[in-house]
Symmetry: C2
Subunit: 196 residues, 2 copies
């Protein structure tokens, strides 16, 4: 691969970025090779050069890059506050702003792809399951409830609510589903912390 | 439209049913005219005869039929128990069984379609937003907390968790995301009911 000129993104990374944006908007159906080529302004032949496994390989690698970005986002949002309830609210506020900034047209790439998968793409399903496990681990590291199992279970609940709030937020063109879930789940966090 | 022979489903209803099943599996991308024609064994021309608006009209009508079935499902599950916490658990248990029965390949048609929509299909987005509003009304009718606004907010939280649990449940091929959310949200319902 040639070194990119200063200020430009190399074509392979451009294709990954295009695939992420397309998956966030329209799931797997929107992230076909033709769409990625068009959005990344890459020559069509180069997709198969960089991703000989085609759409499935490209989607899998794009989900891997996306996952690392989400982990950084989760860590940043959850580090803003110290009390568990405030952490929960900060997390859902951050996602509310994220969906607003994307004009309610971009949601979670993993969630959107997951709901498009037929039995032929079980490899991608496994990638998404591992991605979710990594995210819940990342969330759980920011909480310390009475025991580790309970903390991890709460982290999984938060991820469930985030994925669902993306769906409702896109349908309703609103950040409210995130903020509303944040308030309720912050109550749970406060009570859990207090051992009630 | 000719009357169907006894025991057969008329072609229009077959197309609607096929569209629902395809949307539940793969969202809008999987529910194209060709796929619906194949799955419903209807002559291709008849799709445009019954649905002159094409894919968007078919998807919109299918979502309307689907929505009524979901409301019946919600009412049935939420009527099984009297105490709010038990109602919540019964609801999430019913969805856990639903995703298991579909071998983790069928989720919510509205949720799956919603994450596939580009700006060109804003009419379908509005259909989904109205569908979600109807579902939260249906859920809220089964609860009676200290005030109506709080009850409706809790119903919206339940819907958020249901949509998110479908995503995680499909990825992980498990009913656990539903059952786990049900236990946590039942705690909220119990405390809300007790006014704590």
């Amino acid at each position: 691969m040639k070194k990119a000129a200063a200020g430009t993104v190399p074509p392979r990374a451009r294709m990954i970025d295009a695939a992420i944006a397309l998956m966030r908007q329209s799931g797997l159906g929107g992230a076909g090779i033709n769409e990625v080529v068009r959005a990344s302004r890459a020559p069509k032949g180069s997709v198969y050069h960089f991703f000989p496994g085609g759409k499935e390989q490209l989607a899998g690698e794009a989900l891997g890059v996306y996952s690392q970005r989400v982990i950084a986002f989760l860590d940043e949002a959850l580090s803003r506050k110290r009390a568990p309830a405030e952490k929960v609210k900060a997390l859902f506020e951050a996602f509310a702003i994220r969906i607003e900034d994307g004009d309610f047209r971009q949601s979670c790439a993993a969630g959107a792809v997951c709901l498009d998968l037929g039995p032929d793409l079980d490899g991608l399903r496994e990638v998404i399951a591992e991605t979710f496990a990594e995210w819940t681990e990342s969330i759980a590291r920011h909480f310390e409830f009475r025991d580790r199992a309970r903390t991890k279970s709460f982290a999984r609940l938060l991820l469930t609510a985030i994925e669902g709030a993306y769906i409702r937020g896109r349908a309703e063109r609103s950040g409210r589903p995130f903020r509303e879930a944040g308030v309720w789940l912050a109550e749970l966090a406060a009570r859990e912390q207090a051992g009630r």
